[in-house]
């Protein structure tokens, strides 16, 4: 199956930066109501400006390979980067996932995220791939970062 790229399976089996760690500025708990998948996610930032660094993303993810792997990629790609860069990565990831196959993803922006290009063909799985990312932007807001609902991935 196209969907299950080696990279996805690797990330789901060995989720990067998994576990809940201290210190953290905000913790959120997100659930996918259709399947019951859950993620608890913490962020630790150097400040609340766009230029602040994402010092840590720690999480406990319970879910399908797509949701766990996507959360792992999130941690891998955003940890150590600025808040602004992380939001760009999220935007690019989301654009690809909701493109119905039109956008194959830019590896220089989303790194291992390109492995998820196939998910955009399966609308029911897009939610899985976004679970961790939406938890992340929610956590940023709760940590005091000033982002618009659209940037945070709110549906219209």
């Amino acid at each position: 199956m196209d969907l299950y790229q080696e990279l996805i399976l690797d990330h789901s089996k060995r989720p990067q930066h998994a576990g809940l760690r201290e210190p953290f500025d905000a913790q959120v708990h997100h659930v996918n109501p259709t399947c019951g998948d859950e993620v608890t996610l913490r962020v630790h930032l150097s400040g609340s400006d766009p230029s602040a660094t994402v010092e840590d993303i720690s999480y406990d993810a319970l879910g399908c390979s797509i949701s766990v792997a996507s959360t792992s990629v999130l941690a891998q790609e955003c940890l150590g980067h600025s808040v602004a860069e992380s939001l760009q990565t999220f935007a690019a990831m989301r654009a690809m996932l909701t493109s119905k196959g039109a956008d194959r993803g830019d590896e220089t922006v989303i790194g291992d995220g390109v492995a998820f290009a196939g998910v955009s063909q399966y609308p029911a799985r897009v939610k899985c791939a976004l679970l961790g990312w939406l938890a992340f932007t929610d956590a940023l807001v709760r940590a005091g970062v000033d982002i618009t609902p659209a940037e945070a991935g709110a549906t219209p």
Binding site: V31, P33, T34, P123
Partner: protein, 427 residues
Amino acid sequence: MTTTVTGAAPFTAAESAAIRGDFPILTRTVRGGRPLVYLDSGATSQKPYAVLDAERAYYTTSNAAPHRGAHLLSEEATAAYERARARLGAFVGAPAHEMVFTKNATEALNLVAYAFSNATVGRFTMDRRDEILVTAMEHHANLVPWQELARRTGAKLRWVDLTPGGELDLTALDGLLTERTKVFAFTHVSNVLGTVNPVRELAAAAHAVGALAVLDACQSVPHLPVDLAALGVDFAAFSGHKMLGPMGIGALWGREPLLDEMPPFLTGGSMIELVRMEESTYAPPPQRFEAGVPMAAQAVGLAAACEYLDGLGMERVHAHEQLLVEAALDGLAQRPWVRVLGPVDATRRSGSVAFVVDGVHAHDVGQVLDDAGVALRVGHHCAWPLHRALGVTASTRASFAAYTTLDEIGTFLAALDTVPAIFGTGA
């Protein structure tokens, strides 16, 4: 040639014939082989092939439970259902996420009424200090749910009376809308009088005292171009079956922040966020208000109806129906033994003409017309208090749709002329 405010033209004879060809039922005959003259579209409309085919195509290619699966059919069903929501929203000037599918307009109005008694915090709470305002021209669907809400909460139900000309007595509005008024529910177009109410003005008056404005759009959406958001109301309800769509589907439109604040009404699957035995939390709108497997096939059919109506052009549908209303009003005015209910000026009304025949009960009028193949509605048309206010027990109503023709108005008037002789009431 009659034109509407927008200047759209009624359908030509050729266009009219083509439209009729889209409605299979119109070729059937009734009582002794007479052609069917269907003048009861205000009760429920007939359905074009486009609607029947869309529903069938859904069932034969993509049927599955929407929002309840990840397999291909379920994805297709979900996409079809949500596309239908967006299409319906576009038809009435509303974004998809503000559109809630219900089984009919009645459920939609009950949904809003129950929100007030179910709410425990916020602007939807209601108690004996509050008031609900309706009008004396409401259909039972926009009256009884508010009576029941008043009973459940102890709030007081008040109403706007009618002028002798069959319009709302707006002079009384000031006294009726007070800071106690939590909600003002009124119809866009009366299903008996045909009166088109000044919605913007009524909504503004409601908002001036902090009340919510709930619109019964059942008799406007099928007949006029309607932009709900632009009308200034907060909620609107209408039914699919009256707008060429399938039975078993209706809609509630509500402004996003209000829907957000409303507690659920029907509860169960697909409207939840998290369920534990002890307690549950709920999904955001519109899902919060759509418990259970929804009527996806009917949603697809309703979207096809919107497509069909937009293909005709709602301005032209309206212009066409106004022509029919005028012809009916003119014809009835020439018969002194007939009394028309509601405004005599066609520009103040829409879609239907109700009347009484001197000395002959509506049931008897309807029976004679039915025998001539003319199907129309008799009784109080679910607006009993209105009939009581007008001093009549029952009336006869001819109501129209895009497929109705001027010839049919002629057949109707000719059949009506046989009535006085049959009942010996002269003429």
